[in-house]
Amino acid sequence: MFEQLSDRLTATFEKLQGRARVTDADLDEALRDVRVALLEADVNFKIVRQLVATVRERAIGEKVLESITGAQTVVKIVHDALVEMLGGEAVPLATADKPPLVIALVGLQGSGKTTTVAKLANVLRKQGHHPLLVAADVHRPAAVDQLQSLGKSLGVPVRTVSAERVADDVAAAIKGATAEGRDTVIVDTAGRLHVDAAMMQEVEAIIRSAAPQEVLLAVDAMTGQDAVEAASAFKARLPITGLVLTKVDSDARGGAALSIRAATGVPVKFLGTSERLDGLEVFHPDRLAARILGMGDILTLVERAQEHVDEKEAEAQARKLLEARFTFDDFYKQLQQVKKMGPIGDLLKMMPGMGGLAKQLPDPQQAERQMTTIEAIISSMTMQERRDPAILNGSRRKRIANGSGVTVSEVNALLKQFKEMQNLMKQFGAMAKRGKLPKLPGMPF
């Protein structure tokens, strides 16, 4: 979502870096571009004004106009100011002195609270915790059904509350959690407008009686200038401890996150990155600043790989690849692993210097579709065929084409590509053995 902001700033800085010396007019122009880029990214206008003023002040202080490295200095000043705005390090979830840990989700209607509750439960469950969900949204029709259905698919219990005694019932559910073997309680509350006095009182009462260690405000990444106003109003009434920025898989530029962090001091803790229940990431401010400036996000990529790729398997495959013993079966397994890591377009964007490539791909969806086709073709091969493609004669190829719903020429194309890859890897492997290449890391790609 941040790539457009990143593109704009990159273009501005490239222009600037082309200059031998930065003139007064250059600085003005760059700052104008920075202002427009940030406003287009939905950064709050007050924050934009502050940021531009800070950068100008520092630029003059650092005497960039007289320096021959002025352009780089301006880039660094903007980078540092952005990182400051986002806050430095990732802020982890709170812990409870005595279990259960209580987390409550609050926010405007449609910001993604219920989905986030389920995703959070999924993260905690994977870490070995035993979450209990409390459906305290008694206002939106079928909100309770929604959470129950999500809880069911995760295998996590869900408690309901009565509309007349929401706060008391939430407290009771928390009280009973430990006895039921639950160490974490996540409370879903109704969406509400920050100007709705009655609804704000209701949520104050819930938070008072639940006494959560963590009160997370869900904020839609597509929110505009109103984000600061709404978040500040929630912060004024509730002990907000963190933000969850949702719908980050849109192409919104996410200025709301920068703004709220800067205006309220509340750190962003999680990003909602897909509709799937595993689409919740820990937020790393420093990494995000790098991503905005087009430096890639290799750390997130590595983490995703670690989570989804079996390391031993990957090493074995890398070895096979170099020794040209890599078969269609290995290829198939690899496709599965890459798929688990998320959409290809997203993965490319995270690689340093690859953001541009992601854009050059005519359509990442096209790549996804191609992957699905390749998977289908391999699925239609027998194990013997996968290990030894040489046996694939005309009739076998025809059977595979029929089985996978493609044409014979598509099967042929894949076989050809695979053979070329094997040859390439054979040469590569031989070179590596002679020590002409550094050792490949245990990554399958």
Partner: protein, 301 residues
């Protein structure tokens, strides 16, 4: 957006000629800054705001307008002029039942809007039928079913994880059989960046046309009023996929102003048809460009 044209419209205003002079504050640089802030704060795109401010500064410099009320009136007229064009009434449709698809990103308020629209039509003497075609989100069908009961409108529901296009098809067929005047189909929220979900939407549109030639008659894009500059991108994508015919802006009962819609009206020439201003069934009101602009740029600005 043309401030000059806006100015021309206000020139003849009887009231401003009568009462104008006494309260006329001169335009100051501070006031111009405040005006710019108000416009930016409402999520009007920075390019439109910059264009307005440039023109306003010219107009002031050329002494065509030197007082706050005069400049303000000119800006308002220019903003209204962006929203005025296009038919804001629901399209009558080329057959019966009229088919309305409600589309948009997740959490924008589609289900609620579908229900409110059904109530509006029912109150106007129509016999609408709701179609719960959001088969993806957990309990979305139940949500619309509860609303249907509340607004006393019949409903055709899909099954969870079922084919949404089939639900729309069945609902239109049911509408034909039962003689409903309009079928309002609620679809799943989808981010405009998700190719496969947008493909699904174009299939729904296609299948609606198979159920009744010429359908859908109206494709309403529901935009969350708190959305910022992403709104124009959403509108572009949904228009490309589903031939959007009108916009509904929701959640305007908070502090958000929905100014992102100016860029949409300006670029895509899509009319804003309704505004969502509350959680009750009757809180869907027809768009009034003048009232909308006045809310965004109050008289004392």
């Amino acid at each position: 957006m043309s401030i000059d044209a806006g100015l021309a419209k206000t020139r003849g205003s009887f009231l401003s000629r009568l009462f104008g002079r006494a309260a006329d504050r001169p335009v100051t640089p501070e006031w111009l800054d405040a005006l710019e802030e108000t416009l930016l704060r409402s999520d009007i795109s920075v390019s439109l705001v910059d264009s307005v401010m440039l023109q306003v500064r010219d107009v002031v410099a050329d002494r065509k307008a030197e007082t706050v009320p005069k400049v303000l009136a000119a800006v308002r007229e220019a903003l209204v002029a962006v929203l005025e064009p296009g038919e804001r009434a629901l399209i009558a449709g080329t057959g019966t039942p009229r088919v309305i698809l409600v589309v948009g990103v997740n959490g924008s308020g589609k289900t609620t809007t579908a229900a409110k629209l059904a109530k509006r039509l029912r109150d106007a003497g129509e016999t609408p039928l709701l179609a719960a075609a959001d088969t993806f989100r957990a309990a979305a069908i139940e949500q619309l079913e509860i609303w249907a009961k509340r607004v006393e409108v019949p409903i055709v529901s899909g099954t969870p994880d079922g084919d949404p296009a089939a639900v729309v098809f069945d609902a239109v067929q049911a509408g034909i059989a039962r003689g409903n005047t309009t079928v309002i189909a609620d679809t799943a929220g989808r981010l405009h960046t998700k190719g496969h979900l947008m493909d699904e939407l174009s299939k729904i549109v296609k299948v609606a046309g198979r159920a009744r030639a010429g359908a859908p008659d109206e494709v309403l894009l529901v935009l969350d009023g708190t959305t910022g500059q992403n709104a124009i991108i959403q509108a572009r994508q949904f228009t490309e996929t589903a031939q959007v015919t009108g916009i509904v802006i929701t959640k305007l009962d908070g502090t958000a102003k929905g100014g992102a819609v100016f860029a949409i009206a300006d670029e895509l020439k899509l009319p804003v048809k309704f505004l969502g201003v509350g959680e009750k069934a009757e809180d869907l009101v027809p768009m009034d460009p003048r009232a909308f602009v006045n809310a965004l740029l109050p008289a004392n600005g």
